[in-house]
């Protein structure tokens, strides 16, 4: 059976599984995600959180970026896991004790202000929208490859599927569907990694194979894989794989923005509002990170193997280039999507990949994970399985984010703030309009991406770091912090960060080079500066405008210990 048919079968089968679980668990109990006393075990909640969390950025894009950026790719690995430590230690237990459903609810109540609440809603919409714009590209990459169409058509087909998935709805809310999605996603990620690790190094564990020596019969046999990569990089005029090119301050800033942003993302925080107990909130964060680590500890291995395999395939074991006529099927398949390109500059009929002017190949980073099993010549069912994993990752996260956007617009913004008199029917209509507008806009961004999937998603984290994180931390740990300070801080943080990203990505993309950056910090890392500004402004304004009222301070005291935590209320 060919890859395309197998892909339809496996993707179709996983969809059927999710729908079956959704129907089965709805019949079995009505306790869906939003019921706090539902008694979902912290291990299950952790697994569901991991599925919710790992999107197209983690699954499809991250390892590809690491393959090309080497050490610099570590920002994603550390950034997207280290945030869970902040979440578990500084936020989750307290927010759980507070007992509300959403971040704007917390901000509005803690800062006793409708204005603070409205600003928080707008920040939540901006963050979720940026996040989903990245997802749509990821969905598009999957569909364009397996339907063998160009990337724009792929994005469009993906958008239509995401829209129906969300509107038919219900699936996102059910923890057990997400548990199934996690299993598909993790299995699809690990299987090819184990195969390739064994093929290249004789190690079953990709995590150790990545540091091992290359097996007999593979080009470069006997040398350490990472040494081989560094050697190849030097020969081909690329930056050393284990050293990278970004400046230290930029690596620091991006890692910090991603970590802090993780702890400020509305759709992640929400998961910890709704566990039965405060102690479960702590434990759930721990289990979520365990399940996330399964994928994240494998990603750098996949990156290393994929890079070596890519160079071996394109340049040949002797690094003289491979005849295009003799190129493997996968190169030609990916060429149809426009995501791989070959231009025979020296007219020798051979392909050559390098970091200097000998280079004849353009390779989109976002295809590496999907192409990896084909590059390594794995069985067709593994290739199809990876496609199913990519679809699961992208769809589950997009659907969740669309729900955040549509309820924020219709419920938080319109019903509770701007036009309190609208009927339920109108509210529902506005929710659908908001989802449709968000999809249409993100489809445009999917076809004209401002960066690779993981980079676009990184902007969402920067915005979360610059807006929510300081307001929540100060709300818990600084009980005298008042509403004026928090509002001023959030506004300065998000406006500064958004303006910096828009300037370098859309207004003056040609000027997006280290020399022009503030303190040498790239748009991916600027959320860190925005966060610092937010803290400073909040604190200064608070000093000038006096303390929060006594009843608010008492409220903050009461969220600092677990006893007496009730169910969450809306």
């Amino acid at each position: 059976m060919d890859i395309q048919t197998l892909t339809f079968i496996i993707v179709g089968a996983t969809f059927a599984l999710y729908i079956a679980i959704a129907i089965w668990s709805r019949a079995g109990s009505t306790s869906d995600f939003y019921v706090a006393s539902g008694g979902v075990h912290p291990v299950m909640n952790g697994m569901a959180t991991a599925a919710d969390w790992m999107s197209a950025a983690s699954f499809i894009s991250m390892a590809g970026i690491i393959a090309f950026a080497g050490y610099d790719g570590s920002v994603y690995l550390m950034g997207w896991t280290g945030g869970y430590v902040l979440l578990a230690l500084c936020l989750a237990p307290y927010l759980r004790k507070f007992g509300k459903f959403t971040v704007p609810d917390f901000i509005g109540d803690r800062y006793y202000s409708q204005t603070a609440r409205t600003i928080a809603v707008i920040c939540a919409i901006l963050i979720s929208f940026t996040y989903i714009a990245g997802q749509m590209r990821g969905v598009g990459v999957v569909f364009s490859r397996f339907l063998e169409v160009d990337i724009a058509t792929g994005v469009f087909i993906g958008a239509v599927i995401v829209f129906f998935y969300t509107v038919l709805g219900g699936m996102k809310g059910i923890t057990y569907t997400q548990v199934a999605q996690y299993c598909v996603l993790a299995f699809a990620y690990l299987v090819p990694a184990i195969f390739i690790s064994f093929q290249m190094t004789g190690h079953f564990l990709p995590q150790t194979g990545f540091g091992a020596t290359i097996a007999e019969g593979v080009a470069g046999e006997g040398t350490y894989l990472l040494d081989r990569l560094d050697g190849l990089s030097a020969e081909l005029g690329l930056a050393a794989y284990t050293e990278g090119m970004r400046s230290k301050i930029d690596v620091f800033a991006i890692t910090c923005a991603l970590m802090v942003g993780t702890a400020g993302l509305p759709h992640v925080i929400v998961r910890f509002f709704t566990v039965p107990k405060v102690s479960d909130a702590r434990l759930s964060a721990g289990w979520a990170l365990v399940f996330i680590s399964v994928v994240y500890l494998t990603a750098p291995s996949i990156a290393g193997f994929a890079k070596v395999n890519l160079i071996n395939t394109v340049n040949g074991p002797d690094l003289q280039g491979v005849e295009y006529e003799a190129a493997p099927e996968w190169i030609k398949n990916w060429e149809k999507t426009g995501l791989i390109g070959w231009e025979d500059k020296n007219e020798d009929g051979k392909m050559f990949y390098s970091g200097d002017d000998r280079n004849e190949m353009t390779v989109d980073r976002d295809i590496m994970v999907l192409a990896n099993p084909e590059i390594a010549d794995l069985p067709a069912w593994v290739v199809a399985l990876v496609a199913a994993g990519g679809v699961a990752a992208a769809l589950s996260t997009s659907a969740g984010l669309l729900l955040v956007i549509s309820t924020s617009v219709s419920h938080d913004l319109l019903k509770r703030t701007l036009t309190p008199n609208i009927t339920d029917k109108q509210e529902l209509m506005w929710a659908r309009v908001a989802a449709a507008v968000a999809i249409a806009l993100s489809t445009w961004f999917g076809i004209n991406p401002p960066g690779f999937v993981a980079q676009v998603v990184a902007f969402a984290f920067g915005l979360a770091a610059a807006s929510f994180f300081p307001a929540i931390i100060l709300g818990i740990f600084h009980k005298r912090m008042n509403s004026t300070g928090a509002i001023a801080g959030m506004l300065v943080g998000i406006v500064f960060t958004l303006a910096y990203i828009i300037y370098f990505k859309f207004v003056n993309p040609a000027g997006n080079i280290p020399e022009n950056w503030l303190f040498g910090i790239s748009p991916e890392g600027i959320g860190t500066v925005g966060m610092v500004l937010n803290f400073v402004v909040s604190y200064a304004v608070h000093k000038m405008t006096g303390d929060a009222p006594q009843d608010t301070q008492d409220l903050v005291e009461s969220i600092r210990y677990p006893r007496g935590a009730g169910g969450a209320t809306h």
Binding site: L77, M78, T81, Y84, V85, Y224, F252, R563
Partner: protein, 88 residues
């Protein structure tokens, strides 16, 4: 007020903050310290075929994060019990 006295409430919060700060110190040292600031110096050592700094940035820090959260869960449970503010 779940605490028997104002002093106990203060002591609980102080112990909590001190635990969190200790764990965050480890969090910072392993990721930003070993993985970023000291990475070049650590790269002179080899660890199972990895340059050590590179290993911390791509594997070691993540493993440490997982351990940190479980240490926190255990220590906080003990603290809640000690001050009798655990959930019934």
């Amino acid at each position: 007020m779940a605490f028997k006295s104002e002093e106990l409430a203060k002591a609980y919060w102080r112990d909590n903050i001190s635990l969190v700060l200790k764990l965050l110190a480890v969090w910072f040292i392993v990721s930003y310290g070993f993985g970023i600031i000291l990475v070049d110096w650590l790269n002179q050592f080899t660890f199972f075929g990895f340059k050590l700094g590179f290993w911390f940035a791509q594997q070691g820090s993540i493993i440490t994060f997982v351990i940190l959260i479980f240490v926190y869960v255990k220590r906080m449970a003990a603290l809640d019990n000690k001050y009798e503010v655990h959930e019934e």
